[in-house]
Symmetry: C2
Subunit: 125 residues, 2 copies
């Protein structure tokens, strides 16, 4: 499957780039009115497959997406924690990676770590 460059992909990529936080499908759809729901999902999935973005599963099961930083095409560094504010619902990536040590025989493929709580803005309000 060779990827093609399309307006839809560029648009969604631009939106992801413009966000400071991880973005839900809903939020992306709100900023777009001429791309089909299914297409947005497909493009986001493609970005994840291609290592352009990574997927975060929120506590309610919803997917959020954030661009990958410092990821080589082959080697990904997604062992960092995410934080979702229970008030403003924003999802952000924390820089520091965490060390994961597994029992013998276990092989890691992916890590999804989410902290829920109150962000600095909402906790002081």
């Amino acid at each position: 499957m060779k990827r093609r460059k399309t307006p839809s992909k560029e648009k969604i990529l631009a939106i992801l780039k413009s966000q400071d936080y991880a973005t839900s499908h809903e939020k992306i759809a709100n900023q777009i009115d001429d791309i089909n729901r299914a297409t947005i999902y497909r493009i986001l999935n493609q970005f994840c497959e291609d290592g352009i973005a990574h997927r975060i599963i929120a506590e309610n099961g919803k997917q959020f997406f954030a661009l990958c930083k410092d990821c080589e095409a082959e080697e990904h560094h997604h062992n960092h924690l995410h934080f979702q504010c229970n008030t403003c619902e924003k999802v952000e990536c924390f820089e520091s990676e965490i060390n994961i040590s597994l029992p013998n025989g276990y092989v890691i493929e992916n890590f999804n770590g989410l902290i829920n709580g109150f962000c600095n803005l909402c906790s002081s309000a």
Copy 2:
């Protein structure tokens, strides 16, 4: 809201106790034929509220439940990692707690950390 002791709750609690792994709603429903879907969900939610069980969100957004060990009613220790095997799909709790340090002003309420990969049984197959 005072909780009442009912056969449904006892039955579900017994199932949770009998599992070595975290359990999905589906798996529970399979072992029961006389309790309504909605009731199972409500009971599981209650268990989580009451600190009897904790909820794990899998990569596909599905909920899994596991009994709390070493949890006081007031103080919970859920900063441990979970592991889901991509082959056998089992979800298990890892013992070791992880240290989470948050930026200034951030308050943690809950942590959901899931590693996906292959468990010792499936990785060697």
